[in-house]
């Protein structure tokens, strides 16, 4: 093992090396010291720790990945019951708590397995429907436990050996937070975020959104299981009534209140919402109102800070300074080929694209034009696997794309932009580009967690590549701005940078010049040509403005009502009577293209 590897390993384990003796000391000298009378305080401190684990783990799904799960209590219950059953049947003497550790891991693994079983079929549902299914699963788990004598039925399990103490719980808290943080800062974390921001765009950038969601869900369920196991071994009993959807709601409230995706936010909110009802006990004669005050506080906090306590930021982001932009570099060329044969697609009775054929050769610049509703964007959706053709075939890099999902097609080397810009709006320009590099990386999630950050080489490579692309598109100054705050033209350019970051051999640009003025359009066409030259990619361009594409493209296809009415060199298209009539209208054709044809 060389020195850097050793250092990295040390840094990876450092938090535990430092924290565990401290936790142990606090446990021995403070929590267990009868003279201090801090028992009651430590009960609450431990409750907070369990709440933090729940909130931070749910945050992976609800905050980072943007999937709305409200069945967290169910996974907590599984973890709790499995480990409790083991503990109650296990050895009574467990000096180093190794058996306890094993029981916790077993419970957590069972919860993770349940997460996989629940997540696999239901994560294809979106938004509220997913929420409802997770709610349903959470409740079913509870009903099953209530009806299973082995798990103590409606009465619950008791007595469970008290093996979880302050040190053990907080060691688990630290692990939960570290795993969440290291994942979030890795390329996997950015993949989570991209799913939250825009699933369609994420797929187009080569991210397997279903697999990303299932992974986030399983990890989240695992830590909910840990929390459940520790909770049972701390309280000494488990009852199904404490795992109703109300419990899940509490955790959701912590995540939302903390700020979606913010780990420190979730931690703070978990602390506040756990302390609040306890603190309100000190109201004396008004103590009976404490839960009423708690619920009002929840409403008011949400109204006053709708983005959560910390928004999407972390506590330390408030102290961070922006970094200066970098200098540009260069990249090598690559080859590409798309072959579409008589692809058609119908929606109900409407044939949106009829027998469309297209062949794209390396470094070629092809324009796809046609009036509104001609089916141009539909062609892109067919090429990128958003739609499957009703008939005909599409071959990309020699591979039939039938049955391939958008992310798999992106892996083949096709990247696109969208007519109605689909950036990851709440992420920075830099992150938008970095996400597109995700499918080019190899590091596993486990490695990302172990190393603190993703293997530095790969992370550095991603950063370099992304900065370079921002530079080329003239966006270096905007590196750390949120995508949604960029002006319109820059958003379009950022989409191109993002598409290029996915390492395409064919770049599909859907009306990149839409909404820009004439001068900007001319500049953009120059830029497109230079991208082609510099990256050696083939480009298929959708554009309304016929004059513009005449100058830049080598070949033009004209679509009208889904039918390819003409194709050929720009000059041929200009003088094609069919095109002039169908696309430009007779009058316009006479006024303008009479002249063009003469010159």
């Amino acid at each position: 093992m060389n020195r850097t590897a050793l250092l990295r390993a040390a840094r990876s384990w450092l938090p535990f090396v430092i924290a565990i003796p401290f936790l142990w000391l606090i446990e021995r000298k403070v929590a267990l010291n009868p003279d201090l009378g801090v028992e009651y305080i430590f009960v609450n401190v431990n409750h907070i720790g369990i709440a933090i684990m729940l909130a931070v783990s749910l945050n992976l799904v609800n905050g980072l990945t943007g999937q709305f799960s409200i069945g967290h209590a169910g996974f907590m219950a599984i973890g709790g019951y499995i480990s409790a059953v083991l503990l109650m049947r296990g050895p009574t003497d467990d000096p180093y708590r190794l058996f306890f550790l094993l029981a916790v891991l077993a419970g957590a693994s069972a919860a993770a397995l349940a997460g996989w079983l629940v997540g696999k079929p239901s994560l294809r549902l979106r938004g509220d429907y997913l929420a409802i299914v997770t709610l349903g699963f959470g409740e079913i788990i509870r009903v099953i436990i209530e009806n299973t004598p082995f798990f103590g039925g409606a009465i619950g399990l008791s007595p469970i050996p008290h093996r979880a103490d302050f040190a053990f719980i907080y060691a688990a808290v630290i692990i939960t937070i570290l795993v969440a943080k290291r994942l979030r800062d890795s390329t996997h974390g950015r993949a989570f975020l991209s799913v939250r921001e825009d699933e369609v765009a994420a797929e187009a950038m080569g991210i397997d959104t279903t697999s990303v969601k299932v992974r986030a869900f399983v990890i989240s369920a695992f830590f909910a299981g840990v929390a459940g196991a520790l909770s049972g071994a701390f309280e000494g009993n488990l009852a199904p009534q404490s795992f109703t959807f109300v419990r899940s709601f509490e955790v959701v409230a912590m995540v939302v209140l903390g700020g979606m995706g913010s780990i420190t936010g979730a931690t703070i909110a978990a602390t506040v919402l756990t302390i609040l009802p306890e603190a309100l006990r000190s109201l004396g004669e008004f103590a009976y109102l404490r839960m009423v005050i708690y619920s009002i506080a929840l409403i008011v906090l949400m109204l006053v800070r709708p983005r959560g306590l910390l928004g999407t930021r972390e506590l330390w982001d408030f102290f961070r300074r922006p970094r200066p932009p970098r200098q540009p570099g260069t990249r090598e060329a690559s080859e590409a080929l798309i072959e579409v044969r008589k692809a058609s697609i119908t929606f109900g009775g409407l044939t949106a694209v009829n027998e469309f054929s297209l062949s794209v050769k390396p470094r070629e610049l092809v324009a796809l034009i046609g009036p509104n509703g001609a089916g141009k964007t539909t062609v892109f959706n067919l090429l990128t696997g958003v739609y499957a053709p009703t008939s005909g075939s599409i071959t990309i890099m020699g591979r039939d794309t039938r049955g391939l999902q958008p992310h798999a097609i992106a892996h083949l080397g096709v990247a696109r932009t969208f007519q109605n810009i689909r950036l990851f709006r709440e992420l920075s320009a830099f992150d938008n580009v970095r996400i597109a590099c995700h499918h080019l990386t190899r590091e596993s999630m486990a490695a990302a967690v172990r190393h603190g950050a993703l293997s530095e080489q790969e992370e550095a490579w991603i950063a370099e590549r992304s900065e370079e692309l921002l530079e080329i598109m003239g966006l270096s100054q905007r590196r750390d701005e949120l995508a949604k705050n960029l002006p319109y033209g820059e958003q379009r350019r950022l989409e191109i940078a993002r598409a290029l970051a996915a390492g395409p051999q064919v770049l599909l640009l859907d009306e990149p010049a839409a909404g820009t003025n004439t001068r900007e359009k001319v500049e953009l066409m120059e830029l497109i040509r230079s991208i082609r030259d510099r990256f050696g990619v083939a480009i298929v361009l959708i554009e309304h403005d016929m004059k513009l594409v005449m100058g830049v493209s080598e070949r033009i296809l004209v679509l009208d009502h889904g039918v390819t009415i003409a194709q050929g060199l720009p000059r041929e298209i200009q003088s094609n009577p069919k095109v002039i009539e169908a696309y430009l209208g007779e009058k316009y054709a006479k006024e303008h293209f009479g002249d063009v044809a003469r010159t």
């Binding site: 509220d128 409802i132 009903v143 709601f249 409230a253 109102l289 708690y294 959706n381």
Partner: protein
Amino acid sequence: MTELLQHIVDGVSLGAIYALIALGYTMVYGVLQLINFAHGDVFMLGAMIGWYLSARWTSEALHPSWLGALGVSLFCMLVCGTTGFLIERFGYRPLRNSPRLNSLITAIGFSLLLEYGGQTVFGPNPRAFGAMPVDPGEHFTLFGVAISYLDLISIGVALLLMVALQLIIFRTRIGTAMRAVSWNPSVAALMGVNVDRVISFTFVLGSVLAAVAAVLYASSYRKVEPLMGLMPGLKAFVAAVLGGIGNVQGAMLGGLLLGLAEHLVSSYVSSSWKDGIAFAILILILLVKPSGLLGKGTAEKV
């Protein structure tokens, strides 16, 4: 056979009540795409106010009469309608432009507020409440099936209200506006629809139906307590999803089916599995046809 018929009658009467609550969920989801988790507690509030009016503030409960029952119901509708209006006005409207998740948290907040508030004011113990001058046991026999008068009233009232709701939604100006808002709020606003007023109206309408459901439920089950809204609320929500959330006829169908399924399971299997069946149906329907029985699927435009 008679036994099965008996269970069907009982199941339908429970289902009718679920359907009334489900309408509130589905209408609000239709206009706001919000799961109004406080709705079950508005239902609870209706039952509680009914108890206060008939047993605490007056002696109506000792000598129930039809007129009194009507008065109690109207008062419950008034209180619930107002509550629904206030919850929307102060809990959801300020968050109209925030992510929908936020409104969900305030919904949970209001739900907890009503529950804890109920426990504080009302106390945690259940109380008996019956506004109507018939006992749950009174019945007549038809083809060997015992049909209680209360079941008959529940089904009749629910049917009547559902027809009325259909008329409101499809035959009136405000109903047209509701449909417009559920289709596209910003376009509806551009067409001159006062979106805020339509949303308020929707909440009031849903809450009023919940109040009626509460009076019927409490009369049949003779029990009022601060947490009584939790399970019926959740079940009604499941019913709304089952029928296709956002779809009014779907909520009615879903409610009836759920009531039926639940009653059959608790009669033929075990009453402790009746909660499970509701959620099992829910998950099954969502995995097979996520838009619900009568809902239409939507695809995202790229």
